[in-house]
């Protein structure tokens, strides 16, 4: 991640929801982001691959862990054949390649790895991702990137309904269209949709930003169009070029959406802080 695309450095973060523990920013270059005491020491130069065609789900995930334990930093899994829950819970730096498609819950609960999937993914891909990068070459199912907190999640094809529901940070990029209720209750972070968006886009979003390149079926409650600044354009240009993607009608024709904040009926204090103030 170059400095041009680090949205925080560019001054893009102006979210007001600043609860005590919520703002965490990740940079792949910083050593302290990999501080899990149980993290494995891996060497990216040390590569391994295995065929998952006849393996059970648990055995595939154990095989990935065993390879990390023995210091392999680049792992290729062949023939995942749309099995569920593959590549989950990886809290480590790692280059992981899936040569094929994943089923439901692929790459969920991860913190740190750099994952490439040459096929498609089913429902709830990269759910609750904390950091890292997941790039999917084909389509994605519904609930793509539900509740992610950081990292980059990229789908080069189309994604289903409820993309980035409850998103709390990070970036979601979809190369084609998305379904209904995309960005539902989004709280922070950025979503870039290059194709069309379904009904109720950004419904009840608290904060965060959605950029759309195609047509929008309808906007949800309290989701409003906002003026695109030069900073936004620079950010989009940098972010999209990082993944070899581009807006079909150019970045200038993209629409920026944020929360209208008409539903904000609360303050910024945590319950414990409230007691102190009152």
């Amino acid at each position: 991640m170059g400095s041009v695309t680090t949205s925080h450095d560019m001054g893009l973060h102006e979210e007001q929801l600043a609860g005590r523990t919520q703002q965490m920013f990740f940079s792949a270059t910083e050593e302290e982001n990999f501080t899990y005491p149980w993290a494995y020491e891996v060497d990216f130069e040390k590569a391994a691959e295995f065929d998952a065609a006849d393996m059970e789900i648990a055995d595939i995930n154990i095989a990935i862990r065993d390879l990390m334990k023995s210091g392999h930093g680049t792992i290729t899994v062949k023939n995942p054949r749309a099995k569920h829950s593959l590549g989950v819970g990886i809290l480590n730096r790692l280059n992981l390649n899936f040569e094929g498609s994943l089923g439901y819950f692929g790459c969920g609960l991860i913190d740190g790895p750099n994952i490439h999937i040459s096929g498609r993914v089913g429902w709830s891909c990269a759910e609750n991702m904390m950091a890292g990068k997941v790039v999917i070459e084909k389509n994605a199912g519904s609930l793509f990137g539900a509740a992610i907190r950081g990292g980059d999640l990229v789908c080069k094809g189309q994604a289903g309904a409820r993309v980035g529901i409850d998103q709390k940070g990070g970036t979601i990029i979809v190369g084609d269209s998305v379904g209904a209720f995309t960005g539902f209750m989004m709280q922070r972070g950025r979503m870039i949709i290059l194709g069309d968006a379904g009904d109720n886009l950004g419904d009840s979003m608290y904060d965060g930003t959605i950029y759309v390149g195609g047509r929008i079926a309808s906007l949800g409650v309290d989701c409003v169009e906002t003026e695109m600044t030069d900073l936004d354009k620079r950010y989009l240009e940098g972010k999209l070029s990082q993944y070899g993607m581009s807006a079909p009608n150019g970045i200038d024709s993209m629409i920026k959406l944020t929360s209208g904040k008409q539903l904000w009926n609360y303050d910024n204090l945590e319950p414990t802080e409230k007691k102190l103030v009152l």
Partner: protein, 312 residues
Amino acid sequence: MCGIAGLIWKGGVTSDIGSEMTQMLQALKHRGPDSTGFALYGKGDEGVHVLRFKVAEQEEMKTGFDIHRLVIERKAAVDTRLAEMGAEVIEREDATEYAFRYHFKFDGDLKRLIDFIEDLDGVEILSVGKALELIKDLGDATVVSDQYGLKGFVGTHAIGHTRMATESDVDIRSAHPYWAYPFNDVSVVHNGQLTNYWTMRRDLERRGHRFMSNCDSELIAVYIADRIDRGDELEGAMQRTIDVIDGVFTYLVATGNQLGMAKDVMGAKPMVLYESDEFVGLASEEVAIRSIFPREIDTWDPYQGEVKVWAA
């Protein structure tokens, strides 16, 4: 949660759909192990109807000694009534001790014949069709498929269902697919829950339709049958369900030569679609399609509110 699957070979191509559907449903076993059902569409002979019916539930067979006598009596009563109405039974086959498959010729009013047979206590007609054969029983796909000898069934298209019972009992009566009584060759499988079931059921019952179970999915079959009866095309009838049926649903419908899918406006239930020049495969999860196509294929999820229909 339920798993549903459908497949259709285009351009009149036939294949061993019995084995293919068994494999697909076996891959979806984790979505519902209670019961499995198949609606298989064969070639069919001109003027010959295939009747699938059962005269007892599987659990009943285990619990009473009297049931074995009743089964024989009920079957004999069906034979009598078929003869009485002038239906010529060509072939009788015992699929199990309590489920049977008849081939018969009949020129009269089919609905009257069906009503007359179903009027018998304990007898339920699973399907009547020129192409359709509907098989459902307790157990996973392999168990049911082996019990009824479905492997090697040659045909053009099929739908299937693995059930996790949420709204009604675990018995054959509540198992999918549902036949759109009394329409030749129309069947439905469904994944979801319908919330305006009773309102719509009362409305359809007032119009003279019969419900065999308390399973909400049966409503879709009956509603589509009603719309087709009133002159709708399959696609038009399905389009209507999106507006009038409330709840979450993804369902598949098959007719003598068509396969259709519809998804509710929330897109709450899954469906993965694979389409090539000669084949269309649909399933709740991609693993089911991969069980018959292990190589890499391009699939996608149809969007909310979508209705699609393919012809064999």
